[in-house]
């Protein structure tokens, strides 16, 4: 390189370009990670196929796939926005990635916006893939797309808040363990593949307040039963979103 190569010419790139570049990088990191793909793609797809084909749990009246698909979509949102994001962000914090980006021209809020975009892009992939599989299994969805979209977005906000809260406060290894454990517990107890009414009555009222239960119940109301707008479930998700994102904003540690 010749003389004058390094002559200072500083300046931040335009914000939209920075956010787009960051979101693209975050998405590539997500899709390149084998464990993440297992969690976000393979497990939901496998559960959908397995439980539709084999009568393991009593899913009530109607086709199993009509009961299962809304729950699996909720699981897909949780796997990306909560589990995947918590683990990835936890390790980025541990390895100084968040710290290094903190000294770059990219503002912190723009980094978080890019992370959210990456989560949404991944969710679009998931929803497309799972929808194709569900249709192949004979799924016949009811209801309109708008309440579904609203549920998915609020669910993403609620899970992102909780995932970032975990990633920004716990050690990376603790986040890894806890995020996987929570994923497993909510998979079983959140109305994803096992209907909530299989649980004792006292447990049902508590489990129904979980974000995963609100999301799968809301999606099921619309997609299986053709309900208009499940305001109760949307309300629960909104409260989780406000609490989770608020706590994450307050307690998140960048290093």
């Amino acid at each position: 390189m010749s003389a004058g190569t390094y002559t200072p010419r500083p300046g931040a790139a335009p914000l939209p370009r920075m956010i787009a570049a960051q979101a693209a990088l975050e998405t590539r990191m997500l899709l390149r990670n084998g464990e993440q793909l297992l969690l976000t793609v393979i497990i939901p797809a496998l559960l959908l196929v397995l439980f539709s084909a084999v009568d393991v749990v009593d899913t009530g009246a109607g086709e199993p796939v009509d009961f299962l698909t809304p729950g699996i979509l909720a699981l897909a949102v949780m796997s990306t926005a909560f589990t995947g994001q918590a683990i990835a962000t936890g390790f980025e914090r541990r390895y100084g990635v968040l710290k290094r980006l903190g000294a770059s021209p990219l503002p912190r809020w723009a980094l978080m916006a890019a992370k959210t975009l990456a989560v949404l892009v991944t969710e679009v992939f998931q929803v497309v893939l799972l929808t194709v599989i569900a249709f192949a299994l004979g799924w016949s969805p009811q209801g309109g797309p708008l309440p579904v979209l609203l549920l998915l977005v609020l669910g993403t906000a609620a899970f992102s808040g909780l995932g970032l809260l975990m990633a920004g406060t716990l050690k990376a290894e603790a986040t890894l363990a806890a995020a996987n454990l929570v994923f497993l517990l909510l998979l079983v107890g959140g109305g994803v593949v096992v209907p909530l009414d299989k649980f004792p009555e006292a447990a049902q009222s508590v489990l129904g307040l979980l974000p995963i239960a609100a999301l799968s119940d809301g999606l099921r109301d619309v997609l299986q039963h053709g309900a208009a707008t499940p305001w109760g479930d949307l309300g629960i998700l909104a409260v989780w979103a406000v609490l989770g994102l608020g706590a994450a904003a307050k307690f998140f540690r960048w290093e």
Partner: protein, 308 residues
Amino acid sequence: MSSEPVVQARGLVKRYGDKTAVDGLDLEVRAGAVTAVLGPNGAGKTTTVETCEGYRRPDAGTVRVLGLDPVADAAALRPRIGVMLQSGGVYSGARAVEMLTHMAKLHAHPLDVGALVDRLGLGGCGRTTYRRLSGGQQQRLALAMAVVGRPELVFLDEPTAGLDPQARRSTWELIRELRADGVSVVLTTHFMDEAEELADDVAVIDAGRVIAQGSPEQLCRGGAENTLRFTGRPGLDLASLLKALPDGTQAAEITTGAYRITGTVDPELLATVTSWCAQNGVMPDGIAVERHTLEDVFLELTGKELRA
């Protein structure tokens, strides 16, 4: 080029719990110069630099970088500085060139990524993910990330730690090129030779304070004495030699036939010693001048070894 200092720290204090990492530190960094912050591990080098980078809020004192407050004016400052952390800073699954390209995209007028990759010898590992790079490759990538945005001022935290001698030379060369092109450089190091080779100014810090500051030459000269050594016939008459030398010069036979002269070792002194040897039929074998080094300065100032 303005003569305003690019970094100005006054009475800087930073505590972690009840441990004081930086304890009333004053530091000035000249524009366009390479400044080495030199000190042993735990002296407060990284805390000082990270305060300048806006990562730490001082508990007392003030810091101005390019005239800005690194915390309050972070948004204005960040595009103008380049940062190399002591370790990490890259997604473990990102490829070397991918990460560097990404950093370039965050800047308005970045360097040519391909040329920078070649310059730092990262071409062979461009498709390798960060976690599979060697320590030296990770260091060079971090350095490339610090300069790719064409900053006015770069902070390099131990840029050559863990590098082999060849990679170390190449990093030094890049730092010289940065200075030649008008970039101000602040680097931390615990290598004396690095500070002596590279730095225009050295700030020696110990226990969170600057205990000496100046050019390597100034620091080495200050009150310091140099040493001349040679071996010859045992039992030379040193009293007669000393008569020929300036007052204050000392001479001793430290082991049998090994002589040491301390004082202001300049060309005249050397000539006097060799001509005295010639007159006395002595062949001064292995005659050598030992320059006073920063290592000695540090030892004198703190009473301890730098790499303890």
